[in-house]
């Protein structure tokens, strides 16, 4: 039954050797994940591509967000590289899976920092994973560009190397309150919010603004990200007799809530945060999503050319309507391209160029300019949407 001791040591040490050897390898051998189909004629043989690092979830609990990002990236790069790239250099990205786990995002951060080809980093997805890596990016002099990081302290974590084009709650929440209280006229709303840094901050800012507008929040229910059964919480909401429901939710949980409303005996006007704006919310919410109002940042069916062009191209490529995350990813790549044009394809260049950007076209915001103090988008615009016949359409008031 027992092998000799020597053979076992041999196995163990062989394994260890393989692992360590392989550890050293991937940095050198890993090919960029993006596959470009630019015509050969347009390529300059000598030009090295410009590389963007992406740290995000491709496996694990949040893998679906990483998948959406990829779609947005690929579409944007197809356009940019199809048009010859920047100064004749193609842009590519390296997507490293972090599972949105801080243990792995710091490893990825070190990997990117150490890879001189990488001039800017995008991600990570969750606050825990992103902010654990911020200091590493700051020390490495590599800009960390967050797309989903609305945590109020995110852009403080890595000093002037941390930027984000995610609108903050301080912008979104008051806008949401204005829609719900001032426009729709809810005086006694109930709020359901996701118990994460995002949901909680949004709720607190919403409450502040709603009160100042004269509304009283009769019930507030926080719920965990993995929650699927809202019936008990909704029964509590029902007992508070609200005149409307505010959803500070993501797509899947928001859809579950609207579906379970009827079961809880609730029929109320619903006003949701922009995060609900996704084909998934429509798909998962089905009929129950009809009539939900959103304070959102863009409307896919908006006839404005900047939006229509994007949505059409996206639909042609993926046969689905883009969601908030894919659109953000698309926007971000386009934005970074502008930076590179101004500041050059270096890390320092990216940092300085971000502050100089002015009115960069964006699908979501229309035009983006960064606030140099907060390193976030200044004055983002919002639109009101309503779900009608399974689609988001502009809401023109009652």
């Amino acid at each position: 039954m027992f092998k000799t001791v020597n053979s076992r040591i041999a196995i163990a040490s062989a394994l260890a050797a393989v692992v360590l050897a392989a550890c050293g390898a991937p940095a050198a051998t890993q090919a960029p994940a993006a596959k470009q189909k630019a015509p050969a004629a347009e390529q300059k043989a000598s030009a090295e591509p410009i590389i963007i690092g992406v740290s995000g979830p491709l496996t694990g609990q949040n893998a679906r967000y990483g998948e959406q990002w990829k779609k947005g990236f690929d579409l944007a790069l197809e356009e940019i590289n199809g048009a010859g790239g920047v100064d004749g250099r193609k842009i590519e990205y390296v997507f490293e899976d972090s599972q949105s786990d801080p243990k792995q995002s710091v490893v990825v951060a070190q990997k990117f920092v150490a890879d001189p080809r990488i001039i800017v980093e995008i991600g990570d997805f969750s606050s825990g994973a992103s902010m654990a890596a911020s200091k590493i990016y700051e020390r490495g002099g590599l800009v960390q560009f967050g797309m989903t990081n609305s945590h109020p302290d995110f852009t403080k974590g890595g000093g002037e190397y941390t930027w984000s084009n995610s609108s903050t709650q301080s912008q979104l929440a008051p806008a949401l309150a204005e829609l719900a209280v001032a426009t729709v006229g809810l005086k006694k709303p109930a709020v359901l919010y996701l118990n994460t840094d995002w949901g909680k901050t949004t709720y607190q800012l919403f409450e502040e603004k709603a009160k100042s507008l004269g509304a009283e929040i009769v019930a507030n229910e926080a719920y965990l990200p993995e929650e699927k059964d809202f019936k008990s919480a909704l029964t509590r909401v029902r007992d508070a007799n609200p005149d409307g429901l505010i959803l500070i939710s993501y797509q899947a949980d928001g859809a579950l809530i609207v579906q379970q409303l009827e079961g809880a005996g609730l029929k109320l006007p619903i006003v949701g945060a922009s995060s609900l704006q996704s084909p998934d919310f429509l798909k998962l919410g089905g009929k129950a999503a009809e009539g939900v109002l959103l304070r959102a940042q863009f409307l896919p069916s908006d006839p404005q050319p900047r939006i229509k062009n994007f949505v059409d191209k996206y639909k042609a490529k993926y046969n689905e309507t883009p969601d908030f995350f894919a659109t953000h990813a698309y926007d971000t790549i386009k934005l970074l391209k502008e930076e590179i044009k101004i500041g050059g394809a270096t890390r320092e260049g990216v940092k300085t160029a971000l502050a100089q950007l002015k009115d960069v076209p964006s699908v979501i915001y229309g035009k983006v300019t960064f606030d140099k103090e907060t390193r976030r988008v200044s004055d983002p615009t919002f639109v009101n949407l309503v779900v009608k016949n399974g689609e988001f359409v502009a809401w023109e008031g009652k």
């Binding site: 991937p26 901050t201 809880a264 998934d280």
Partner: protein, 611 residues
Amino acid sequence: MDPTLRTFIDQTINGLAIGNVYALTAVGLALIFGVANLINFAHGSVYMIGAYVGWVCVTWLGWPLPASFAAVAVVCGALGVALERFGLQGLHRKARIAPLLATIGISFALDQATQLLFTANPQSFPNPLPAERIALGGVSIGAIDVLIAVVGVSTAGILFGFLRFTQLGWALRATAQDRDAAQQMGVDVEGVNRATFGIAGVLGGLAGALVGLYFATVYPTMSFQAGIKGFAANLLGGLGNVPGSIVGGVVLGLVESYGVAAFGATYRNLFAFAILIGVLVVRPAGLFSRRRTLPPEPMTGTFVPNSRPVRVPRAVVIGGIAVALCFPVLVSDPYLLQILTNAWLLAMVALSLTLVTGTAGQSSLGQAGFMAIGAYASALLSLRAGLPFEIALIAGSLIAAVLGTLLVLPAFRLRAHYVAIATLGIGEMVNQVIANWDGLTNGVLGLTNIPPPSLFGIEMVTPRATYWYSLALLLLAALLQLRLLRSHLGRTWRAIREDDVAAQSAGVGLNRYKALAFAVSAGMAGMAGAFSGHMYSYINHETFASSTSILALTMAILGGMGNMVGAVVGAVLLTALPEVFRGLVDYRYLVYGVVLLLLVRFRPQGLLGTV
């Protein structure tokens, strides 16, 4: 109708519906535990696959519900059988920890395979049932509630009939009661084993399909929560007790529902685990145990494998340490340094676990909770009290030691599997409390701007500095642990692990040594957590998730129980493997799961063997 009464009835219906689903999951686990004496960590994955099969049938193929459910039953039944045949067969003769680990590997592989096939996006599973609701007085019931009730009750009925009136059902019950006697009746117990996994697969798959339909969504990660809740329900009713599991599921559903009604939805899991631990403490064998149990046979050769540990020559260990110390001089790649820094920190956790689980025999799945306590204590002390890093780190690990031990105290009367589940529950509770205790922990917003590790006021922030700092802490911890293991204390702990009854007869009081083991272990895990927190500069309630506990257990088992060198080797391997497989991108956790499974198959006692 009186609104309070109406609320109560509504919450009861909610609880019954979700409890029904818990019960279906728990029954499968109970059958498997009864027949194969195994906690099946892959059961949640079977449940998830059931949901996907149902979704494919209804939305892609357009099949009616009954046909779809039949397909779910067939596919998941076959999956259960395959799981036993390819993943576990032959392992049940090995130490019990081996098949447990094998099921963890299988669940990794299944979850990842599903994600590759259907993407990670949640898929819409529209409910084909009529939307009308049946009004009963002031409350109303939807068609889906009725469906769940019908499927739940009829499945329980069919299962009852199967167990009572069919030959295979008898064989199954007979095998669960007395394997040897069943064999003497001519029962092919291996076949019964397979059949049990098949039936459990059917039940788990149906539960998954029902939940998919109930919430109109299916997604690959639905497996973990389902598995945990299934265990909880099963444990409430008593491992291996089928009717008990049904009641346990319903009780859990109701308790959660009433708990949410009283305190809010964020307390759902806190409630579930609190009730679980409560029941474990009061009635360790479940709510319905009848048996007054005398001390069972020793765990020797059953849970912890017997093995001759590989004697790693001292020169190799010292050489290894020397190489580790010199590594940053030779290699400057911060990526590699960060991987190894992570490996050293996880090695500390693996060491802490191999002490309490490997050496003292108290299987812990709560190390992440201890890490979180240490991290928050240290971060808060340096943020709010302005303590220097070194002091905060030590204080943090001491607080983790004391709090951790106090939390585990009620679980001291439990044994083997039960300790594992109780500590898993405790770990989850720690994170839930952190998320809900805004005043102290800043709630879900987490703690930002935690000062980086420093030494005598000098910040240690470069990859090399953190590498050496964490390695030094690891070596210090290892040295302390080695000293403990070489003292009478190590001997006493190992004696308790091997045979607590015999140890007692030599005069050893068990609680004292369990407490000491948990204190040292929690302190060490707390230190690793504290260092990580300062290194990350930001922590929240999700930073130290339960998956870290399972990872640490995997490392300890892989290295060999109680084997310190093994724990470090396991930590380095399991930290490095996913990095090695980075080139595989989406496939890496699939490969990781398969590698884990293979390692268990060929070296169930761990790479370096039990000490």
